[in-house]
Symmetry: C2
Subunit: 215 residues, 2 copies
DNA sequence: GGTATATCGTGACACTGGTCACGATTGTGC
DNA sequence: GCACAATCGTGACCAGTGTCACGATATACC
């Protein structure tokens, strides 16, 4: 982990802060499918994503999981900041869906740097803000929208984060992410393909034109 | 607005900060039913609740509103901090449900104090954290629970915030808050009263024993 | 090639919850 | 008392979606 690597993804942090970070933080590399944060785990470090993509889920006591949002390079897990400060456990799960490098910062520094480096405080705040907005958007969808609209939104988010029209995710996994069932996704996907919005292939979906879903 | 009043509700803020706050902030008093924040409004000040109770809603473009949480004395509207900093508009609505006194802090100070007063930065962060947790809890309910459980949770929150077993809210309003319909609430309430969990009176509900709802 | 596994399609059915229609009850203002 | 509004109850119906059952197809591994 070099200062350049961090500075590139987190340009708003002060050089001195980055120097200190290199000294005290760990670089952790996760492989595709690895869990960064497990439900119920006591979180002891804040997490900044240097590279790769991480999926954040909410999990309830019955083991239902619900996809909330992606974190990519330059983003921080707001929940890890929350829990780091409070030493609390969380009902959250973070999973690497590509190979991912993250900077892991021990609890005490998260707090200490808040007063010491203005850039850090601003970074933490804007992380909260962005995650907060995403949560609100998520609430909108589950509160006000039907499954068909939510599915389109799901595909759209994937398209935006991966910059590709190929979604290599099985219906089963999509169903889990949306807290639905495979059969429902299957039915809705059929409708989307009939409308020419997507093309279905085995184990992957090709997005043709999501705009058309508005009609 | 005196320093004592503020210090009483916000004991963690530095005396110097409170002095400055008295100088630059406004005290606004809202009557029951008044809107503090309107959907789509550009928010120009952060809001701290000194007294009374405020209800926070999410509203979508079709005018559906969805109750998220209460703010009481000593709490801040995290969204007003968000939007204050970013000068953005929000899809949110804040309504006074009792007579409420709030401290209204112009945008520029919200940001300035973040570096100047450690107590302020910590207060802002912990506001985010608490609101974030509440949002997660809200997501749990709409994602994983049925309307009957959500209704019980709604009553429970009211009981906790108001410290009373009398809920003076019409079925129509509860239905709006839960993004449901009056008839559904009516049916579920009947079940709850048959189980002895609540007693129904005109325009108000008496909570008898919410614990029993678990069975 | 053959077997196991993952993935997907689909019809039948049930349940939750939203909508409609109508009426009953209670409170309010005159 | 009387008109009116707000509140609540309830039956009928329907749409969305979760569940079950079963089969079809593709992929992976031996």
């Amino acid at each position: 982990m070099t200062e350049q690597e961090i500075a590139k993804q987190f340009p708003k942090l002060e050089p001195e802060l980055i120097q200190e970070m290199v000294k005290v933080a760990d670089l952790k590399v996760f492989q595709e499918g690895d869990l960064l944060i497990r439900t119920g785990q006591n979180i002891r470090s804040a997490i900044l994503v240097l590279d790769g993509l991480v999926k954040i889920y909410r999990e309830d006591d019955q083991g239902n999981e619900f996809f909330m949002y992606y974190l990519d390079a330059g983003k921080a897990c707001a929940i890890s900041l929350v829990c780091a400060l409070g030493s609390e456990t969380s009902g959250l799960m973070a999973k690497a869906i590509t190979k991912a490098s993250v900077v892991s910062i021990p609890v005490q520094y998260v707090d200490e740097w808040m007063g010491k480096y203005k850039g850090w405080a601003q970074f933490a705040l804007s992380s909260y803000r962005e995650r907060f907005e995403e949560l609100l958007e998520t609430i909108d969808h589950i509160a006000f929208r039907n499954m068909d609209e939510r599915l389109v939104f799901y595909l759209k988010r994937h398209q935006e984060k991966f910059h590709t029209n190929i979604v290599p995710i099985s219906f089963t996994e999509i169903a889990q992410d949306l807290n639905s069932s495979r059969e429902v996704i299957s039915r809705l996907m059929k409708k989307l393909s009939e409308k020419g919005i997507v093309q279905l292939h085995r184990s992957q979906i090709e997005i043709i034109d999501l705009q058309r879903a508005l009609s």
